[in-house]
Symmetry: C2
């Protein structure tokens, strides 16, 4: 019953993202602390009145535009990874909770700023903060969530020295995340982005905040630096696997499963991993360039691009890359000297990141 009240619909309007907030049963070790986590997140964001505080709760998925309670929370993958790492390292959930709260609040701060930067008016069928309140207030809401993340670690329970170290790791992850976002925006105006450029960008933009939770969880659990660093590297690899799979699903995913369009990435001329891979194949590159040069891409153009990518093997390339990264993560488990049961839990989590269809 640990999922009670969570893991249901992220969107009330259509049935299409019913699974958005749900992790599969195989990753039950990522679900098990969902309830205390959500409570700690609510305590960190607070219950103050007024539109700024309501906007923070809206972003976290607890309230709708009118301040009525809803359940539109996301998967909470990052804090789940933090708590998972802490338990694997022999620590308590209570000690790791400030780190779990901090990483999730940072994730939400980054979403709010990204939405302004990308002019995304909706996320999971809910209007974004800037679309509701203007860009200026959305910048403020992102900044506020950032302060609440820092506060979770400065004021949290547990040893002060460990929280300080965790804060240092989180802060560097945030810097890497922002630099990734910088590159992502800078790439829009460039036609010469290589696969290496792209991988470096996403390693920052999404990888840093998937790796840091594991390192932070280990630090707060009192693990040795060699363990916390190895767990951080494990997270880096599964973060890369996650992103490769995400880029795959952005074109070949089932919208009924993912809750996201599988035509948007192409229609919006994004340069995701399969696209950049295909640009290295003369035939596919030609199809992509012609389509991306149009004023507006219709369904036919999108289908033609997806077809050309498949012919160039860009779908397999993404799947292979996800598996390679999961294998690299697996190699690190040898260093980590966990017992067999714990090792299997890590493998189950890695498998989810590679195989997930939602």
């Amino acid at each position: 019953m640990v999922e009670a009240g969570f893991g249901r619909a992220a969107c009330r309007r259509t049935g299409c993202c019913l699974r958005v907030a749900t992790l599969p049963a195989a990753t039950s070790n990522l679900l098990v602390h969902r309830e205390p986590l959500e409570e700690a997140l609510r305590a960190a964001v607070g219950y103050l009145e007024g539109p700024a505080d309501a906007a923070m709760r809206y972003v976290m998925g607890w309230e709708n535009e009118s301040g009525q309670p809803i359940d539109a929370a996301g998967k909470r993958i990052r804090p789940a990874l933090c708590l998972f790492a802490a338990e694997a390292a022999g620590g308590s959930i209570a000690a790791a909770m400030p780190g779990a709260v901090a990483v999730e609040l940072v994730h939400n701060f980054s979403l709010v700023h990204d939405e302004v930067q990308d002019h995304d008016a909706e996320r999971h069928h809910r209007p974004t903060v800037w679309a509701r309140m203007g860009e200026g207030q959305a910048i403020n809401i992102g900044d506020l969530l950032y302060t609440r993340a820092i506060r979770a670690l400065t004021d949290g329970a547990g040893e002060s020295a460990r929280r300080m170290r965790a804060l240092g790791v989180l802060n560097i992850a945030i810097e890497r995340m922002i630099r990734g976002q910088w590159d992502d925006i800078a790439f829009e105006g460039r036609d010469d982005v290589t696969i290496d450029d792209y991988l470096a960008m996403v390693a920052g933009k999404t990888g840093a905040l998937l790796s840091a939770p594991l390192e932070i969880g280990a630090i707060l659990a009192g693990a040795s630096p060699s363990v916390s660093l190895a767990l951080g590297r494990w997270g880096m690899h599964i973060g890369a696997a996650f992103q490769a799979q995400d880029d795959f699903l952005g074109i070949w995913g089932d919208p009924g499963q993912t809750g996201k369009s599988n035509t948007n990435d192409i229609a919006r001329r994004k340069k995701t991993l399969p696209i950049i891979h295909a640009l290295g194949n003369p035939g596919a590159a030609d199809v992509v360039r012609r389509a991306y040069a149009r004023d507006q891409l219709d369904d036919h153009d999108v289908a033609a691009v997806a077809e050309a990518l498949k012919a160039a093997g860009s779908d397999s390339y993404c799947r292979e890359r996800a598996r390679e990264q999961a294998a690299e993560a697996d190699d690190l488990l040898a260093v980590l000297e966990f017992d067999d049961a714990t090792r299997e839990q890590f493998r189950a989590v890695a498998a989810y990141f590679v195989e997930r269809d939602a």
Copy 2:
């Protein structure tokens, strides 16, 4: 010679803001550590290549748009207050430096985000970051400066427990600052903002980051909580005095001294302290409302409003309020049990905040 290389022109284009970066000799205790402070700030921001890092140095006033070295740094009032408080509390400059660096970086992060929010294309005759690089990248630069501020305290020299406390105080000040900025934006659409609303807003928007440096300096110096809290309150009052004087100068200042237009506040329909005061005077309120209802305010309208404000005593009101706040600050000196020389230094700093004409 402590001012060598600093405290000169903030703007190369005109002579109008020659004094922007200069504090008067009477506040020599705020100037004395300018050189090591600037070095510590440069170390915290770093020397990395690439446009994001160059943009951070541009914001700090060390480089122009082409990355060439210039000297356009601001007055660095906030870090100076931090170092001043630390010395007064018997601590070392070295121990307080991480706090000084952090408050100045936070100030600059807030400027960059405010410029996006207010659509200000220039500051001290230099194009703002968003005007140069777009709003998305300006949001990133602000966020990056925020991470660097946190890093100054997580990685700095000195006792870890003190840095953690300082970080907690800084972080709450940042939250108050952002909430002040939220209110400032929210007030734009309101016609019923009272003087109390306004004072609460500026206490957050500018007061929090003038108070926090003093409390942080004292904490890093190892002062007792009663001393650090009293110094923070002293800073709160001189922050309020600073803002009242700022609002006075925004209408009756000499642009040759302040480096800022004295027609902008009215021309841009701002609701600063003298304006809100005048709205409580039926005759003046009528003039202000008629002028603010126009599509565009010309020089004649601005002069008429300034005249009406003067007739309503709104200029004296600002000056009185600044003096009142300085007197409240002075009362706190009795609690603080400093020696006479230190007390006089505090009075000189307070006098500067109240009497400054630049």
